[in-house]
Amino acid sequence: MLEVRDLEAGYGPIRALDGVSIEIGEGETVAIIGANGAGKTTLLMAISGVVPTRRGSVTFRGQPLTGLPTHAIAKLGVGHAPEGRRIFPRLSVRENLQLGGFTQTNRAAVARDIDEACAIFPVLGERMSQMGGTLSGGEQQMLALARALVGRPKLLLLDEPSLGLAPLIVQKIFEVIGSLSKRGIAVVLVEQNARAALKLADRGYVLETGRITLSGSGKELSGDRRVREAYLGEG
């Protein structure tokens, strides 16, 4: 459903992506692992049209995304929970979730989706009128994920959803991510927590300084010697 071909993107003189090609099938969960500064965030931001691409193409369900503005890409069904959560700090939890459904025209459907998100993350339901910025880090991450889900994405880009969270919350978040493929949502999961990500994912890619250096099923990658040494802290 998503095909990235030979993508180059960067910032001024910095070339952060240098010919990246990846593919995600319907309902598939794909992990992208790589060291700090490898270009993972840039890749997701380029897919979403935030960082302009210089070369190559991004195609989503047969439609080219390259050159489309970010909001139009979101409207096509590409959800994105960005690095650092980036919830709206001075909007209430409810308003944050409502904005998640911004592209939806049916208000009642958005209200239902918000209820559903609160069933997944009950703590959000208890904090509906609280400002987003007053939530704890873990609660903010749940809100970021819930906000993206309310948009009913067909493809969800997740940028380090477990960063800085307590193990129990990480487990909860990974559980939810694992359940997305059953709902028919394809996921691109960028993670520092490579072990958990590869366990969850159908397939994975290793990104190193702007290039894909390895790819394979989650099992293959977690068994690969280079991956074990560099990303799983073994060897």
Partner: protein
């Protein structure tokens, strides 16, 4: 001096403050959404006044039956509001939008440039001398005589136009989809785009609303003060901008509060101290408040961790 005199000055101050607040909203909304101090806002209002004067002249509104005066005024507010709103959007499109990712000083200097261009258009339109604006409303008191207070039809006009506009604005910002999108864009434009908000359209809508309020203010001002001139934008803009900063720039209730405070201070200072001291007193108070509350009366103290 009597309590009645004091009350009278407060009434004058509140009315003037409401008008200042209406202009201050235009500054604070644009600042809130793109962080730009729109120096041309005062001059936009001057152009609104030019348009109002031309319309009143062309349609002979000064001579209409008193029964339809209010219809004429509502029409003027609407037309000047739409015109100023559209002009504001056009300026954003042509001048500020290409500079969206440029360093902050570039759009600021451009705004000063736009201010001068507007002033020159006004000079061409009105001539260099002040022009008197026809009295569409008489200055007779609407309060019972035994209250001993003056509140004229003109004062009432200010309240009748400004208060509903402010209520409408609060409802829009608080409850509508556009209002939520505006607040989201002002907090994190990238995150807003990622949930599907068309950021450029939201910014354009903000310029339109700020300009519309400015256009409405230009009509109220013209009917209230009855003198307009090509330089009126500067001083009025300065007080309104000050009100926005005093209230906490970016904060909508702050702009209203700041406008009312400045209106009151001006009225009381000119009544009890003397007209020529008002400017100094207003800005002295501004400085004192900002020393203790740099973020303004209702501004945010710190950035939240995001």
């Amino acid at each position: 001096m009597s309590a009645q005199f004091f009350l009278q000055q407060c009434l004058i101050g509140l009315t003037n403050g409401a008008l200042i607040a209406l202009v201050a909203l235009g500054y604070t909304m644009v600042y809130g959404i793109i962080g730009l101090i729109n120096f041309a806002h005062g001059d936009l209002i001057m152009l609104g006044a030019c348009l109002a004067l031309s319309i009143v002249g062309a349609l002979g509104l000064a001579a209409v039956d008193p029964a339809v005066t209010w219809v004429a005024i509502a029409g003027l507010v609407l037309v000047c509001g739409l015109a100023c709103g559209s002009l504001n959007v056009a300026v954003d499109r042509i001048v500020y939008k290409p500079l969206r990712n440029a360093p902050k000083l570039a759009p600021l200097v451009s705004a000063i440039g736009v201010s001068f261009i507007f002033m020159n258009i006004g000079l061409f339109w009105l001539g260099s001398a002040d022009r008197s604006f026809p009295e569409l409303l008489p200055s007779d008191n609407v309060l019972p005589d035994d209250w001993g207070l003056q509140f004229t039809q003109k004062d009432r006009l200010v309240v009748l136009i400004v208060v509903p506009l402010m209520v409408a604005l609060s409802i829009l910002v608080r409850w509508t989809k556009l209002g939520k999108a505006m607040r989201a864009v002002s907090q994190d434009p990238t995150a807003a785009a990622l949930v599907g908000v068309d950021v450029d359209r939201v910014i354009a809508a903000t310029f339109f609303i700020g300009g519309f309020l400015g256009g409405a203010a230009s009509v109220v001002y013209s009917l209230y003060i009855n003198t307009i001139g090509f330089q009126m934008g500067f001083q009025n803009g300065l007080y309104a901008f000050t009100a926005a900063v005093l209230g906490g720039i970016g904060s909508i209730p702050g702009a209203v509060l700041g406008g009312v405070v400045i209106g009151l201070v001006r009225a009381l200072a000119s009544a009890y101290v003397g007209e020529r001291w008002t400017g100094a007193i207003v800005f002295a108070i501004l400085i004192v408040i900002l020393v203790f509350r740099p973020e303004g009366l209702l501004g945010r103290r710190v950035r939240e961790k995001v």
